[in-house]
Each structure stands twice: as structure tokens, then as C-alpha cells.
């Protein structure tokens, strides 16, 4: 195959949506998300409409060969809520293996995760948080699909509904069931799909290793897990904790019985209660966020001599495993394009990856929206930008498109997207 592969990044603000046009005009859509309160160029049905219009212009019909959702964060799949997709046909849908609804372990994990996030949401009022921190927590919970008052999107849009569409929606599907990746324990796993002739896909994440499940288990921090459950119960009207005691009133010392002062000092009780019920809301929310990011697909899409690296929002845990594997490193060594992970955050792109593994001078794209709040303060990370520059990696940022585009890039006149062409 010769020619070019085109990668179009939609300016969705804090989120991801990429449309890849292969040399034979076959199409791959990776993610379609946006932040409901972000500053991107799209809201509501607009992103779906824009993509479908572009697809129709390129392929002559509303057909996408492969639709990929890297992970279940709103900023990566929210636009799949749109009914616009009902008239689109697709070849295949690819999802990370943890989305397989037949997998008991994954189902159990999501159940726990959902319970944890929900308890955090319910308990939120019991925490003293700064406005900035509260906004960060709320953003992370919204992103994870927890319905918060004031955050509910119009038209009943939700992560769950978007996932439903990915599992069984769209007008027509050549392969009725989604492909869950990786399909095996093999690492890295490589496969070809009948709907994408001449393309080899390498799956570098998420890991199928059972240890991953363990890492992702919110109960790993048992104290926080239980403390949130109890705080949520208290906020939910359980009121006093008597219903939650391990032993009934017949075992308990009544408050009016003498001797309490001699036993524990107020400071001691305060520490005990802190250790028992204390939790860090921001940390807990970050855990929810990290956990979902860690289920992110990491793909190297090989088209001719082009190797396109799409790591979703994969974080350090995933990268650590990738960088420790020779075969995986070799793949990255030959990458010809990088989608910078997780909007340019600190733990989605390691220093080693930029400085020692990726080749210099390849094009890269960062879909991001600089913002405020603890969560987004350092996104994109200035150090990372500097390192990319130092390494000659030619990147564009969706939130600050240059007026003169670098070689190989072009942009939409309204700034709704930017596109790069990669020889293959």
C-alpha cells in the first residue's frame, strides 16, 4: 500500500475524538467524547453530526469501518449518546476487554467501582472541600458516569447509554458483537480484521493479567471504601450509626454510664474517629478516574509503513508493563505518529517514552483544554511539552491551534478539526 493515512482530530475541548482515513478511504473512528461544560467546538448532537457529515463526504455513505471506544469516560464516548448514530452503519466496534458483559470478573469490578463512586457522590456533602477541589471531584465523577445533581446532561445522556449503543446500537453492524481487546493473554497481541484489509493492529493495553483487576479494585484501599460507604449511609438518612454497629445495644455501654472521661481523651477519640471514618475525597475521586483510565485501550495501528500510536488515556501502570517488554518497545520504536495520552497529563506519557523509546521528529496530536482546578492544573504538563519540543516531536494542541500550520497539517476554517497526513 502506498499513499497517506490521514488523522483528523476534532476540537472537542477536554476529550478525544479522532477520525482516521486509510489510503483506500476506509474509516476508523477512535472515541467521540466531549466535556459537557468544556470549551470545545461541539455540544449536544453537533459532534456526531460533524463526524457523520465528514464520513459521508469521504466514503460516500454513512458507514464507518471500525468504531473504537478506548475506555468508558464521558470525555471519550459522550457523543455516542446521540441518536444521529442510528442511521450510521459500522463494520466493527472495538472495546477494551473489561467491557465484555459476559466476563464475570469485569462485571464485578464495575459493580464495585460504581458503588464506590456513588458512595463518594452521596458522601460529598460531608467533606470540607475548597471550591476548586469540589469542582475537580465533581468533574471526575461526572466523567466516570456518576449522575450528580446539576451535572445531569439534557436528554438523558449518560455513559451507560453511550455504552449501550457501542454494545448493540448503530443502524447496521457487519460484526454484530463488539470485539473485546485484547482477546487473549498474549502480549502484545496482534490481529487483522476483515473490515480493514492491509491493516495490522497491535494491542498493548489493557492487560488481561488478573493482577490488573486487583490493582483496579477500589477496595484496595479498604478504609476509604468502607468510610465512604458509611458516610454515604449517614448522609442518606441512616442518621446515627446505631444501625451500622457490629453488636446490638445489649453489648453497648450507654453514654450516661460514668467513666468515659477516664478512658479516652477527646484528642484520642478524634484521631480514632479520623482513622475510622476519614477519607480524602479528592484522592478517592482520583482513584475512580485512574482506574477507568487504566482500562484504556492502547493500540498501534499499522498501515503499510505507518505505525500510529493511540494510547487512549492509559496511565503509568499500563506503560510500565509496555516499556518492560521488548516486543512492545520495538513497536513503539517504529511509531510514526503519537496521540499524546490523557490530554497531556503527567502520568500518561512517561519521560522514558518520549526521550528513549519514541523516534524523534514524528508528528503528534494533543486533544486538550488547559483549565483550572487541581485536576487540570497541570494538563497539559509543561515539562512534557518541553520534552516533546526538545525531541523534535511536531505536535499540535487542539486548544491552541497555530495560525500557520506546521508541515503535513491542515485545519478546518472554523477550527473544528485539524488533520495530519502520514505517509504509509
Amino acid at each position: 500500500m502506498s499513499g497517506t493515512v490521514k488523522i483528523r482530530m476534532y476540537n472537542v475541548g477536554f476529550g478525544d475524538s479522532f477520525l482516521i482515513t486509510l489510503p483506500d478511504d476506509r474509516l476508523v473512528l477512535i472515541d467521540a467524547g466531549f466535556h459537557s461544560q468544556g470549551k470545545g467546538a461541539f455540544s449536544g448532537d453537533e459532534l456526531a453530526r460533524q463526524i457523520v457529515a465528514d464520513v459521508t463526504a469521504i466514503a460516500g455513505e454513512a458507514h464507518i469501518d471500525v468504531v473504537i471506544a478506548t475506555h468508558r469516560h464521558a470525555d471519550h464516548l459522550f457523543a455516542f449518546n446521540s441518536t444521529v448514530w442510528d442511521d450510521v452503519s459500522v463494520g466493527e466496534v472495538w472495546l477494551p476487554w473489561v467491557e465484555d458483559r459476559q466476563n464475570d470478573k469485569a462485571v464485578r469490578l464495575w459493580k464495585k467501582q460504581q458503588r464506590f463512586a456513588m458512595n463518594l457522590a452521596l458522601a460529598l456533602t460531608s467533606f470540607q472541600l475548597s471550591q476548586e477541589d469540589r469542582e475537580s471531584v465533581e468533574f471526575m465523577l461526572w466523567n466516570a458516569g456518576v449522575e450528580l445533581p446539576g451535572f445531569a446532561a439534557a436528554g438523558g445522556w449518560s455513559n451507560a447509554r453511550a455504552l449501550d449503543r457501542l454494545h448493540e446500537g448503530f443502524g447496521y453492524r457487519r460484526r454484530p458483537k463488539p470485539r473485546f481487546l485484547p482477546a487473549t493473554q498474549t502480549f502484545p497481541e496482534s490481529f487483522a480484521s476483515p473490515v480493514l484489509p492491509d491493516v495490522v493492529v497491535h494491542v498493548l493495553g489493557p492487560s488481561r493479567n488478573p493482577d490488573l483487576i486487583e490493582e483496579l479494585d477500589p477496595e484496595a484501599d479498604g478504609e476509604t471504601y468502607r468510610a465512604l460507604a458509611m458516610r454515604a449511609a449517614a448522609a442518606g438518612g441512616a442518621g446515627d450509626m446505631s444501625s451500622l454497629t457490629a453488636f446490638g445495644p445489649e453489648w453497648q455501654v450507654r453514654d450516661d454510664e460514668p467513666g468515659a472521661e477516664a478512658c479516652l481523651s477527646p484528642d484520642e477519640r478524634k484521631r480514632l474517629e479520623g482513622l475510622a471514618m476519614g477519607a480524602d475525597a479528592l484522592l478517592a475521586a482520583t482513584h475512580v478516574d485512574d482506574m477507568i483510565n487504566s482500562t484504556s485501550l492502547v493500540l498501534v495501528i499499522e498501515v503499510g509503513k505507518a505505525r500510529l500510536l493511540f494510547p487512549g488515556d492509559a496511565e503509568w501502570g499500563t506503560w510500565k508493563r509496555i516499556l518492560a517488554d521488548d516486543d512492545a518497545r520495538t513497536l513503539l520504536h517504529n511509531a510514526t505518529f503519537l496521540k499524546v495520552g490523557h490530554h497531556g497529563s503527567h502520568n500518561a506519557t512517561s519521560k522514558t517514552l518520549v526521550e528513549q523509546v519514541l523516534p524523534a521528529k514524528i508528528p503528534a496530536m494533543i486533544s486538550t483544554q488547559a483549565g483550572k482546578g487541581k485536576y487540570r492544573n497541570n494538563i497539559p504538563l509543561p515539562d512534557l511539552m518541553t520534552a516533546l519540543d526538545a525531541h523534535g516531536i511536531r505536535y499540535v494542541r487542539s486548544d491552541s491551534l497555530p495560525t500557520r500550520m506546521p508541515k503535513g497539517y491542515r485545519k478546518d476554517k472554523d477550527g473544528k478539526w485539524v488533520e495530519v497526513s502520514i505517509p504509509c
Binding site: R108, A220, G222, E223, A246, W251, C263, D267, G317, L381
Partner: protein, 626 residues
């Protein structure tokens, strides 16, 4: 007419406990009665206490006290305590008290002194402190806190879904945590993870105490010997599971850890994760134990088999089971004492496995030169098989593993030191005397000062801080206040020792211009195998630089452990002087830690205390009991 009122005072207090986690216990009868030293108990509705332990059943999650059991009640005392039952919180109190007392007794026996918490404080036990799958020692409260939690709804193992599981009903967890508390008392600076061996050593030590204490209960060992036909490494040896109810309850469906395993000599060098490292140490000690047990029982097997040593098929003779059980218990007790005793010969800061091996060998050599049982040699062999090599010694011979004494040529008895030792030993002897009345030293009114509770992120490092800060640091006035240390003798010894150590900084390989802190001093009265009495003083002194580079919350310190005889000789001197190489190693360890956590960018805001927090008691044990 009785000659003394002491004649009617009971020597032991029998109390019933679950020897295995109740989940396994249901399958067979694994309740045992442990006999702990009798101490008079004080009780009110909210707690009961003897001179060293206090059980406070305060559930901080629901802010309730559960009524304290009255172990002195005739009906309860005569039945050897309450019947073991999961649903009875008062039995839970009895169980934590019994197991913790047993652990302290094992420490007393091994150390040759009564283990005394700082200032004569009581170690507090909270059997139902919080609702989570964890149990840990909190140095800030000088308390061991046990959590409880519902079994996993979807995958409860052999437990019922949603059934409440109590960590305070596991002999292993209680023993493990009390051992942490005791080690934190003896070596506070081991709560600073200055190298990966330090947290590993803490964990391994606690596991060793839990496991070998259990191996000293003949009622438990006998069935195991019968079932495994005397093979202590057999797969069906349930003694090898530590805290097995917990693995099952978290959905892993298997015991937390299995002890046996083929040693891989390269594993040690490759392993950095402290739990995994600690694991290697535990398995080395267990193998040393098995080697000795096998040698000690070989003659029995020959006798029982008409000389062939090969056991016939089928059940073992009950007499043989009993004799093997006795050997097993005796060997386990010896191993337990050896490991606990080693702590006296460890440096006060920054220990490694190599230090532990040498301390163990030296401690044992002091009491038992001939090594008739071969235990010492077996330990060395088991460590060698796992690639744990002593640093800075020429060979694995006992002589080269022994810690260094001072240069014999220059060593002279030091009268000032002799004075200090004599004074301290007098105090220690009184404490040990079985007929002495142990008055309850600590006034309950005296409060520990607990730091004002701060943000949750700071609790972890606070756990470490509180245990390393209560020392005599000031150069000018090394006075312990009466509030910190009520015993006048000990205050005087502290002062004298501080003066002596300050004057002998060069001899202790410490900096001449830095103040010195006396971390601890202990009288030792040990009875050697041949009946001789070994008496000496163990003291720890530490120096902390005035300024220190940021090391993830670590502090680069130097220190020395000195073992002094009653005539003023320094028998052994275990030094960790300031060495650039050691500081370099700490920086390296922090860099490795950061790298393993993916923190590579400069502008990232890394928590200043990140290493401390990652290896705090609460965080370590959370991973442990999962």
C-alpha cells in the same frame, strides 16, 4: 498457715482462644486454651487492663463502647474464659488480650527482661476499631487497632456473603500486630523505610512471631504432625497459612501466603517489594527451623522404625506423634527466641537482612556457644540458599558472621559505663523477679499527648513521626521529664548514658560535633543453655543531622548499638556511621521508588512524605491483610 500470701496467687491465667481463623476452625476443633502469666486486672465498664496491656473496645466508626469483659469473674475464670464465639464481643476482647499477653511473654522470655513500653505506658488493644479490612499498630495512640468488615458479597470464599469478618479473631493477625508494636518500641527508627529491607524486616519479623508462636501450641501441632506424618513442609500443613480467612474473604479464594517453597538464590537480589522481600526472610527462618527439627527427630524415627528411619504406611503411633510434637514445639520456641533476641544486636537505624543474620548469629552465640542443636548452622544455611549474604564478612563461618567487638588491645573497662550498667541491671532484676508485685505503674490520668488530628494524608507520616520523635535530643538538657518517664532510676540512667555517649562519640563512630540522642537502654538477664547467667546492657544511640536533603520524608541518620557488660567493657558495638555511600543508597532508593510509580517529570508535585506514607504501618498492613 501459709508462709506467704503469694502462695495462693495463681501463676498462670488460662484463657480460651481460636487458634485458627474461625472459618477453618469450624471444620475441626481448633480452639485452644493458652496459659498466660497471671496479672491482676483492673476493670471498668469501658476497658480492662493489667500492667502492660489495656483492652478498650471502642468502635470509632459508630462511636460506641462495647462493655468490657470481666475476666476475674468467678464463673468466667473457672471456665478458662468465655467460650470462643464469633458473635460475642467480650470473647473478642478476651482473645486479643490472651494472644497479646502471650506475645509479650515470648518477648520477655527471649529478651531476658520485661518488655516495657516507653514510660511504662500500656499498649492498647482496640478489637473493633474501624470497619475495614485492615489491622495495624498506631504509634501515635500506642494502640493496635483491629478492623472488621463484611465478606465480599459476590465472592465470599467459605464465608457467608456479607458475613462480618473480624480481624481480631485471628491469632496470626493479633500476634503480627503486637509484634509490630513491640518492634516499634525496641527500634522506633525501623518505621522509617530507609532502605527496602527495613519495612521488609518489620513485616517478616511480625510474621515470624505470629507463625512460631502458633507452633508452640502442642494441641495444634499434634494434629498437624499426625496429618502430615511429621513432614513440616507438606502441602497439607495448615500451619503454613498465615491469616487464611482473609485471603478467602477478599475473593482470592486462597490463603494469603504459603510458607514453603523452593529457594531461588537469585530471587533475593531481584526483589524490591517489601512484602515479597519479607517473605524471603520468613521462608529462610522456617527452613532453618525445619532442618533442625528434622535432625532432632531423626533418632526418634529410627527408634520407631526399628532402625530403618522409614515410616510405614498409615497412621503414626500416638506416642511418636507426641514425641515429634514436643520436638517441634521446643524447636519453634528456640527459633522464636533467637529471632526476638536478635533485635538487641541490631543497629538502631537503617538495618538490612545482613544485619539481621549477623545479629541472630551473635545473639545465639552469646547464649549457646556450642550450638548443640545445630540451629545456628541451619539458619545460616537457609539464608545462604536464598542468596541472603552477609555484607562485609569474609566467609559464612560463624566466627566471621559474629558482630565485631571493640579492638581487644585498646579495650579497657570503663568505670562510668560500669556504673550505668549496674544501676540499670538493678532495675531490670526487680522487674523480672517473679515475686515482686508489679504495681500498676501508669496512672490512667496521665495522657499521652496525641497530635492534633490533621488532614488524612498526614496520618501516615504521623505514624512514623510519633515513634521517632520522643527522644532525648537536646545536647544541653538531656532530662526526661517525669511525665515521660515516671521511674526515677530510668531518668537517671538516661542522663548518665547520654553524658557518657556524648563523651565517647568517636568511640561510637559518630560525629563529634552533632548532638546525640539516647534511643533506648535495656537491662538483659539471660540464662544460657549451660545454666550460666548472662547479664549486660543494650543501648541505642542515634545522631540526626541538623539539616537533611529531601528524601521523600526520610531522614539520614547514624547510630550505634552498644552491648556493655557489668564491669564496663563494650562487648559488642554495632555501628551505622554517617557514610556517603549510605546516603547515596537512600537517594537511589527514593529514585527507584519514584520511577516505579511513574513520577518522572520535574514539575510534578510529589508529596514530600511519599516514602514514609507508602510504608507506614497502616499502608503496609493494608496490603498485608488483603
Amino acid at each position: 498457715m501459709r508462709k506467704s500470701p503469694l502462695d495462693t496467687r495463681p501463676e498462670r491465667r488460662p484463657l480460651r482462644i481460636f487458634a485458627f481463623d474461625p472459618m477453618i476452625a469450624r471444620a475441626g476443633d481448633h480452639r485452644v486454651t493458652v496459659e498466660i502469666p497471671y496479672r491482676p486486672l483492673e476493670r471498668d465498664e469501658r476497658s480492662f487492663r493489667d500492667d502492660r496491656l489495656e483492652v478498650v473496645d471502642y468502635d470509632a466508626a459508630t462511636q460506641r463502647y462495647y462493655r468490657a469483659v470481666d475476666l476475674s469473674d468467678d464463673e468466667i475464670a473457672m471456665a478458662h474464659g468465655l467460650e470462643p464465639a464469633e458473635h460475642d464481643p467480650q470473647f473478642h476482647q478476651q482473645m486479643v488480650y490472651a494472644v497479646a499477653s502471650k506475645v509479650l511473654e515470648n518477648f520477655d522470655r527471649a529478651l531476658g527482661r520485661r518488655l516495657r513500653f516507653l514510660g511504662g505506658d500500656r499498649l492498647r488493644l482496640f478489637p473493633h476499631a474501624f470497619q475495614a479490612r485492615n489491622a495495624y499498630f498506631d504509634s501515635e495512640l500506642n494502640a493496635v487497632m483491629f478492623g472488621y468488615f463484611p465478606a465480599d458479597d459476590d465472592d465470599p470464599g467459605a464465608n457467608l456473603p456479607g458475613q462480618t469478618i473480624f480481624t481480631c479473631l485471628s491469632h496470626d493477625i493479633i500476634a503480627h500486630e503486637v509484634a509490630h508494636a513491640a518492634l516499634s518500641r525496641l527500634h522506633g527508627y525501623y518505621n522509617e523505610p530507609t532502605n527496602p529491607h527495613v519495612p521488609a524486616l518489620h513485616e517478616a519479623f511480625a510474621d515470624i512471631v505470629a507463625m512460631f508462636q502458633r507452633l508452640t501450641f502442642p494441641e495444634l501441632v499434634a494434629p498437624v504432625i499426625r496429618e502430615t506424618r511429621g513432614d513440616l513442609l507438606a502441602d497439607n500443613n495448615i500451619m503454613l497459612d498465615i491469616g487464611s480467612q482473609f485471603g478467602a474473604a477478599t475473593g482470592k479464594g486462597q490463603a494469603l501466603r504459603r510458607i514453603a517453597g523452593k529457594p531461588d538464590p537469585t530471587l533475593f537480589a531481584r526483589t524490591k517489594e517489601p512484602h515479597a522481600l519479607g517473605w524471603i526472610l520468613v521462608s529462610a527462618v522456617y527452613e532453618g527451623f525445619v532442618l533442625t527439627y528434622v535432625r532432632r527427630t531423626r533418632d526418634l524415627l529410627r527408634l520407631a522404625t526399628g532402625g530403618s528411619g522409614r515410616l510405614p504406611e498409615g497412621e503414626l503411633h500416638p506416642d511418636l506423634v507426641n514425641r515429634l510434637t514436643n520436638e517441634c514445639v521446643r524447636t519453634a520456641q528456640a527459633v522464636l527466641s533467637m529471632c526476638i533476641r536478635a533485635t538487641d544486636y541490631l543497629p538502631p537505624v537503617d538495618p538490612t537482612f545482613s544485619d539481621f543474620l549477623r545479629a541472630m548469629v551473635t545473639a545465639d552465640f552469646e547464649l549457646n556457644r556450642a550450638d548443640d542443636s545445630g540451629l545456628r548452622a541451619d539458619m545460616i544455611e537457609a539464608f545462604r540458599a536464598r542468596g541472603i549474604r552477609p555484607e562485609a564478612v569474609g566467609s559464612l563461618a560463624v566466627q566471621s558472621l559474629l558482630l565485631e567487638a571493640e579492638d581487644a588491645a585498646t579495650a579497657t573497662p570503663d568505670p562510668a559505663l560500669a556504673d550505668i550498667v549496674r544501676k540499670l541491671l538493678g532495675f531490670g532484676a526487680r522487674q523480672l523477679d517473679r515475686n515482686a508485685t508489679h504495681r500498676i505503674e501508669r496512672k490512667r490520668e496521665r495522657r499521652r499527648s496525641v497530635s492534633e488530628s490533621s488532614a488524612p494524608q498526614e496520618w501516615y507520616s504521623q505514624q512514623v513521626r510519633s515513634v521517632v520523635s520522643d527522644v532525648v535530643e537536646e545536647d544541653s538538657s538531656p532530662e526526661l521529664s517525669e511525665d515521660v518517664e515516671p521511674e526515677l532510676v530510668l531518668r537517671e540512667v538516661a542522663k548518665a548514658l547520654h553524658a557518657w555517649a556524648s563523651a565517647n562519640r568517636a568511640r561510637l563512630k559518630l560525629q563529634p560535633d552533632l548532638p546525640i540522642a539516647v534511643r533506648g537502654f535495656h537491662p538483659v538477664h539471660r540464662i544460657a543453655q549451660n545454666g550460666e547467667l548472662l547479664i549486660e546492657m543494650v543501648a541505642h544511640v542515634v545522631q540526626t543531622p541538623r539539616t537533611s536533603p529531601p528524601l521523600g520524608g526520610l531522614t539520614y541518620r547514624a547510630g550505634a548499638t552498644l552491648i556493655a557488660s557489668i564491669d564496663g567493657y563494650l562487648r559488642y558495638l554495632v555501628c551505622k556511621p554517617f557514610q556517603p555511600a549510605r546516603q547515596e543508597r537512600m537517594a537511589q532508593w527514593l529514585a527507584t521508588f519514584d520511577e516505579a510509580n511513574g513520577s518522572s517529570w520535574q514539575t510534578e508535585r510529589l508529596a514530600a512524605d511519599r516514602l514514609l506514607a507508602a510504608y507506614s504501618a497502616r499502608a503496609m498492613d493494608r496490603r498485608r491483610w488483603r
